[in-house]
Amino acid sequence: MAETKKKILGIVCERSVDLKKHIQKNRLKDKDNVSIVELTCSGMIQPIMLEEAFKQGAEGVFVMGCQIGDCHFREGNKWCQERLLGQRPPNIKKTVDKNKVRGYWLAKCDYKKFLDKVSKFEEDLNNVNS
């Protein structure tokens, strides 16, 4: 696994897991193959953003918002989750491989859980391609 570090992009709600301490130059300090882009709320994530990420060479994209039921803006993470599941327009294009997309719903202080999930994602990505 060490030699094939997948390029992963995280589009992250700034109110979910607090990454400010763990980021250097838009990358996770603990995993330098993981880039992070923060925005106001996971509900702001457009399907185009996922498409763009894959177009720009990401090999896996995860989306992270707060725990379902606890969005600061009431419904953002719910909408985002439904969009990832294909239940809410605008839909993600079929060209996007859903095996390479993940959605995490974690609270501010869940950094450890977050790292575990990302590691699991890396493993999954390696398995998909092999």
Binding site: K5, K7, L9, I11, Q24, K25, N26, R27, K29, D32, N33, S35, I36, V37, L39, T40, C41, G43, M44, I45, Q46, P47, I48, M49, E52, A53, Q56, G57, A58, Q67, I68, G69, D70, H72, F73, R74, E75, G76, W79, C80, R83, P89, P90, A107, K108, C109, D110
Partner: protein, 378 residues
């Protein structure tokens, strides 16, 4: 400093809720329904209140008798009466938790000010309803409440005396006193509905119902006590004897021990200051100026997706005549906009965007971030 403390409190709340998630699961966590729980108790109060209304006689002579008649003679009367009492206490607890949670999680100010203000009004109305509710039983406590409240009201300068006269409905306690308390108790209860409308007005799809399982659990919290610990009246009030002590319901009658401990004017001033602080609290934090979402006339196709997704009813669709093909246009009401970007996520046509955090910038950033080779950052 103040902001940092609030951040700490927010983390504390989240930690506590994570712990509750382990017990209740995310779907049934009562804290994720903190606004719906008071609502459950409120409807319990309305329904049990309606049932009590059927047998209650609001006169000095028969109030006490009719309340006891409900307790002893009417089938399940004791339980309905108990529910009415315990639901009131439960509602106060739930409301306080609701208020504290929105405060701790920073969800009470800016575009939510109307919910905060109507919430303060709702809380005050609840206190008035609670106090007058205790008058209706017309035991010694009720009599004492009337006397103390009338005395305390008289201490307010200028409007105090008329207020006291209004509350007692005359110079001395008569049948009309009971009628007035009954009117206030029931009348303001219905006024709650108007305030609740204000409370919800800028919220799309407010969560006002708890899931069935959670509802039953919470309901059992009030129906079990009302069956096991029956609510009883004290000794009947006798107008010629002034009572000296009464059991205090700390959720609604806390003001009376204060009245007996210090001059009423100080208590009123304290209450006034407390309300003023509550109303000022949303403005203690200074924010960066607002930059609400903006619609691009050229790109909007009138698909209504943003209006449907907006959680604050800030986006409306209006008819459009300037375009040959598209018949509708999204309009943002600036004062309601929370700048959350949910509309941006809902738009597939790049037609609505936050000026400060444009989706174009985010997409550009995605590109930039991915261009850097792996290992460059560390």
């Amino acid at each position: 400093m103040y902001k940092k403390a609030l951040d700490k409190l927010q983390v504390l709340t989240i930690d506590f809720e994570k712990f509750l998630n382990k017990i209740f699961s995310q779907q049934y966590n009562p804290f994720y329904y903190h606004g719906a729980v008071p609502n459950l108790f409120m409807w319990t109060l309305f329904i049990t209140g309606l049932l009590l209304f059927a047998y209650f006689q609001p006169t000095l002579d028969s109030a006490y008798i009719s309340v006891n008649y409900i307790s002893t003679k009417i089938p399940f009367g004791q339980i309905v009466r108990g529910l009415h009492r315990y639901a009131a206490d439960a509602m106060m607890i739930a409301v306080l938790i609701h208020a504290i949670r929105v405060f701790f999680t920073d969800r009470y100010r800016k575009y939510r000010w109307i919910a905060w203000y109507s919430g303060v009004a709702l809380l005050l109305c609840m206190l008035v309803i609670g106090i007058t509710g205790y008058v209706l039983v017309w035991d010694e406590r009720s009599y004492m409440i009337v006397l103390m409240m009338a005395d305390a009201l008289k201490q307010i300068p200028l409007i105090g005396y008329p207020l006291a006269k209004l509350f007692v409905n005359g110079e001395v306690v008569t049948h009309y006193t009971m009628a007035m308390s009954f009117f206030i108790h029931v009348g303001i209860s219905f006024f709650l509905l108007y305030l609740l409308w204000l409370h919800y007005v800028r919220i799309s799809r407010p969560v006002i119902d708890v899931p069935l399982g959670l509802g039953l659990l919470l309901f059992s919290l009030i129906i079990i006590p009302s069956a096991l610990i029956p609510v009883l009246s004290g000794k009947p009030a006798v107008l010629t004897q002034t009572p000296h002590e009464f059991p205090v319901d700390w959720f609604y009658l806390w003001i009376f021990p204060l009245f007996s401990g210090m001059p009423a004017l100080i208590v009123w001033t304290g209450l006034f200051v407390a309300v003023a602080i509550l109303l000022l609290v949303p403005y203690l934090i200074v924010d960066i100026p607002k930059s609400p979402a903006a619609v691009s006339l050229d790109n909007c196709v009138g698909c209504t997706l943003c209006a449907k997704d907006c959680p604050y009813e800030a986006i409306y669709m209006v008819p459009r005549t300037d375009h040959p093909k598209y018949k509708q246009l999204a309009i943002v009401i600036d004062s309601r906009c929370a700048e959350c970007g949910l509309c941006v996520g809902a738009c597939a046509f790049k037609a609505i965007d936050l000026p400060q955090k444009h989706s174009k910038e985010i997409i550009a950033k995605i590109g930039d971030v991915l261009k850097e080779p792996v290992g460059a950052g560390a």
